[in-house]
Amino acid sequence: MTALGRQVWGLTIPAVAWAAHFIAIYALISAACAPRGLIDIPLMFGLGIVATVLFGIAALWPTIRPPKGAALTGAIRVGGLIFAVAILFDVLPLIFSSGCGG
């Protein structure tokens, strides 16, 4: 793959990590708080943290080690940071709420 091709990957990986994380959090909340009650709150919380750590690292990875080439490095950094912050925002409700809250 060309250097630019790798940089394009560096742009997309954080985006995909964010998407996966968002789906995970939404699914966990739905599993815990809908009538079916698939999982309980502590499990939801635990899995949410695991997902956040995993996908958070994935989102920041290209920022920490940008693929070689100069064309898109700035964009990769900004993109990685935005998505990392978004991942953090999406998990905050889990951390600050004590339950599904009615």
């Binding site: 985006a15 708080c33 079916r36 900004v78 912050v85 978004a86 905050l92």
Partner: protein, 839 residues
């Protein structure tokens, strides 16, 4: 391949016009055949003019709304008419004005900015336009039958079900809008492929004009964001026609499912409207500042992150529906967060402004108006993202004010900037700067008068969507002023129309690059040849007209580039590697044809007949449409030869590999199809999760048939791979046999899946109905696979494709593999339901 073989006749020359010059081959058809044009310039302009017509109609409806509200207790419109008028206003504005007109600009501009002679699938462009036109006419014609939809632009159930909306008004909406959406989705796939596969030599992704990035991301968003609404509309229509209970809580359906599907589309929709407009701003600003856009890379990153994050916000439209507080917090946090990428773009625009002394032309005024209004709309957006505030302001005029600040500020003002900026490109004449300033100030003052006050009206408790209000509760004067403001706004738009008509004859001649812009659409003198480039120049920078003295220093037709010579009497352009932009193939383009128009018309008949419950006519329309597609695709293959593209490039024509534009289009189509499937799976999981006791009442799929369906899916997957191999190896007879094998496997998949859920009653529970809907969707894809394989086999048998022309089978394999995986996913879900039980 070094030798350029130019055999006198191969299948690709059959459609050629070898005796003609390049100008003649590309000439616009005249007379009645004008309608058969496939040129992106013509189609783009049609989208723009038609979109503007819908803007005028919807704007007129808005004036009716405002006139009704001018005084308390007004009887200008009765309640029913009022409901129809605001519903049609919102519907036309969102679906038939905003998206299509922006796509029209993209269709018109993208090829020229990127160095292509036309969009990569010109016939698809024509098809999309006619779908849009006919869909729009269907929606509008509801007025003639006094059956205009009146359920609000988001058509909430149960209001829009048969019980509360008898008659056909909701059907007009559901069917007409779905039809028009097909146009948006086809245009999106086409734009994605055009941007990735047809750029000037050397234009890598990072050398693309910023507008192309905006359009690329927008197009992906359309491809993923429209499917939830298409599925939602089909489910609701199936509910109305067949009584399938998707949204009926008495059998485990849920009105909120409609809201989820609608807003899964609806929220990204507003970003789909905003992003292309912001891309226009990012193009216009640098021209008048005279400096490149500040922070190109940052803007690219911001646009990508906006594109993604906007899919994680939809439930902020559902804060008052009783979702768990935890969900509300998630969507509230995510909604606040989206301000960050928006802010990055706004800062990049402001920093660009700060780099020089901008020339305050009319387009610039509108850009400034955009910055001012949109930022205010963004601020009220952040306010509404906070759940407690939202509970207060929900469904009040505060929301109406907010949504118009973002939509008019974020889209209409940039659009008017674009009208003034690109009008000389389209008409060859300049619009008036003096009148333009009047237009701007009238619109700006009128807009703020109308909508700023609505914040206050809303905070004073006035709900949206009420036809009238009592006197003396503090709303009278605000409403009066809002209405007067809307008249001023309308006067601005009227003056614009006057100026546009005036400038067609009396405007100053524009000449070449009148605004001193840097992007390639201005390379030729305005009102230029229809095929954009005599030769396609290599591009090294983002503003080639500023940095490359050869471009404006010469006559446009003398600028050096590839593809100066025409081959085989065919329309063609250069195809590139998606990332690096280096030329990899010659892309053959179609000549004018009526087939796409005919196909769109046949489908329009089918849709209209469905509204009228004339089901035989509907079936006839669908068959005719299928026939249209078949004729469309039944053409001599172009692959299999190489040609000299000039500047040292000897390239294959319509190459057969993964980077081929056709293959990338197939992948893009799969993306849309998977978004459709994903919406159905969302519905399945949602109903299963929210109504456990109704899930328990739904009959479980049969284990044996489920297992067999997964086996059949696996077989289809493997057969598709073999099909590709033998086709690429030019074993034509064997490839035909493999086509037949694919057909049999598709039939087996359909049969096994249907047998697996034969005991599930679609009318019994909503979950059962959704299982059948999912099956129906997968079966449709299996049918397309089958039909395509049959088509390819027939073409091989009749000698339409020969050695070295395996592209159709190459693409079929990708489609069949995608479909096989759908079978596996659906089978897997059925299997889980059988093994885990539905309870």
């Amino acid at each position: 391949m070094t030798a350029v073989d130019e055999p006198q006749s191969y299948s690709g020359t059959r459609k050629g016009e070898p005796d003609k010059t390049i100008e003649e081959v590309w000439a616009q058809p005249t007379g009645l055949r004008w309608w058969s044009s496939v040129s992106h310039r013509v189609v783009g302009k049609r989208f723009i003019y038609t979109g503007f017509a819908f803007f005028i109609i919807a704007g007129f409806l808005a004036l009716l709304v405002r006139t009704q509200l001018i005084v308390p207790g007004n009887t200008f419109l009765d309640n029913e008419t009022y409901n129809q008028v605001f519903t049609m206003h919102g519907t036309l504005m969102m679906f038939l004005f905003a998206i299509p007109i922006l796509e029209g600009f993209a269709v018109y501009l993208i090829p020229m900015m990127l160095g292509a002679r036309d969009l990569i699938f010109p016939r698809l462009g024509q098809f999309g336009y006619y779908c849009y036109l006919f869909g729009g006419i269907i929606v509008l014609s509801s007025f003639l039958f006094d059956a205009a939809p009146d359920g609000g632009w988001f058509m909430y159930v149960p209001l829009t079900t048969n019980a509360f909306t008898p008659g056909v008004s909701a059907d007009f909406w559901l069917i007409g809008i779905t039809f028009a959406e097909i146009a948006s989705v086809t245009a999106a796939v086409e734009l994605i492929v055009a941007i990735l596969c047809a750029r000037a030599p050397g234009m890598s992704l990072t050398k693309m004009p910023i507008f192309a990035w905006y359009i690329l991301i927008t197009a992906f968003m359309i491809a993923i964001g429209f499917p939830p609404l298409i599925i939602g509309s089909i489910l609701l229509e199936a509910n109305r026609l067949l009584g399938l209970p998707f949204f009926d809580p008495t059998v485990g359906g849920d009105p909120l499912l409609w809201q989820h599907l609608f807003w899964l589309f609806g929220h990204p929709e507003v970003y789909i409207i905003f992003l292309p407009a912001a891309g226009m701003v990012a193009t216009i600003l640098p021209t008048f500042v005279g400096k490149p856009l500040f922070g190109y890379g940052f803007v690219v990153a911001a646009v990508i992150s906006m594109g993604f994050i906007s899919f994680g916000l939809w439930a902020h439209h559902m804060f008052t529906t009783g979702l768990p507080i935890l969900s509300l917090s998630l969507f509230s946090a995510a909604s606040t967060m989206v301000a960050v990428p928006t802010g990055v773009q706004i800062f990049a625009f402001i920093a660009t402004l700060a780099q020089g002394r901008p020339r305050m032309t009319t387009p610039m005024l509108f850009v400034m108006g955009f910055l001012f209004i949109f930022v205010l709309g963004g601020l009220t957006g952040v306010m509404l993202a906070s759940v407690p505030f939202n509970w207060q302001a929900h469904d009040s005029y505060f929301v109406v004010a907010h949504l118009h600040y973002v939509l008019i500020g974020g889209m209409v003002f940039p659009l008017f900037a674009a009208f003034y900026y690109w009008a000389p490109h389209i008409t060859g004449r300049m619009m008036s700067e003096r009148l333009g300033k009047w237009v701007f100030w009238l619109m700006f003052i009128g807009f703020n008068a109308t909508f700023f006050l609505m914040h206050v009206t809303g905070l004073r408790g006035m709900p949206r969507r009420i036809a009238t209000y009592p006197e003396g509760i503090g709303w009278d004067r605000l409403n009066l002023l809002s209405t007067l403001g809307s008249y001023i706004l309308a006067a601005g738009v009227a003056l614009f129309i006057f100026d546009f008509i005036r400038h067609l004859r009396h405007g100053e001649r524009a000449g070449r690059d009148p605004w001193r812009a840097g992007t390639m659409e201005w390379l030729y003198p305005t009102v230029a040849i229809g095929f954009n480039f005599h030769a396609i120049p290599p591009v090294e920078t983002r503003e080639p007209l500023w940095n490359n003295p050869n471009m404006l220093g010469k006559n446009a037709e003398d600028v050096e580039g590839v593809m100066r010579k025409m081959h085989d009497g065919r329309r063609e352009t250069i195809g590139c590697d998606p990332v690096s932009g280096s030329p990899v193939q010659i892309v053959r383009l179609p000549h004018p044809t009526f087939t796409p128009m005919f196909t769109a018309f046949a489908l329009a008949v089918a849709f209209a007949a469905t509204i009228a419950s004339a089901y035989f006519v509907a079936i006839a329309g669908i068959v005719a449409g299928l026939l249209g597609f078949t004729i469309w695709a039944w053409e001599p293959s172009d692959s299999g030869v190489t040609r000299d593209a000039g500047m040292g490039y000897v390239l294959p024509v319509n190459m057969i590999e993964k980077r081929s534009h056709m293959h990338i289009a197939t992948v893009g189509t799969m993306l849309v199809l998977y978004a459709l499937l994903g919406s159905l799976i969302f519905a399945l999981l949602y109903l299963w999760n929210v109504y456990p006791n109704f899930a328990a009442q739904t009959a479980q799929p049969n284990l044996l048939w489920t297992g067999l369906s997964m086996l059949a899916g696996l077989v289809l997957l493997i057969l598709a791979m073999i099909n590709r191999r033998v086709a690429v190896a030019d074993k034509i007879g064997l490839a035909t046999v493999m086509n037949l094998a694919v057909i049999l496997a598709s039939i087996a998949c359909t049969a096994c899946l249907a047998l697996a859920i034969q005991r599930t009653d679609p009318w019994g529970t909503a979950l059962g109905a959704t299982m059948w809907a999912t099956l129906g969707f997968v079966a449709l894809n299996l049918f397309i696979t089958l039909y395509w394989a049959l088509f390819n086999a027939a073409r091989k048998v009749t000698g339409r494709v020969g050695a070295g022309q395996s592209l159709p089978d190459f693409n079929l394999a990708t489609y069949a593999k995608g479909t096989a995986v759908m079978v596996l996913i659906t089978g897997g879900l059925f299997l889980a339901a059988t093994l885990g039980g539905l309870s």
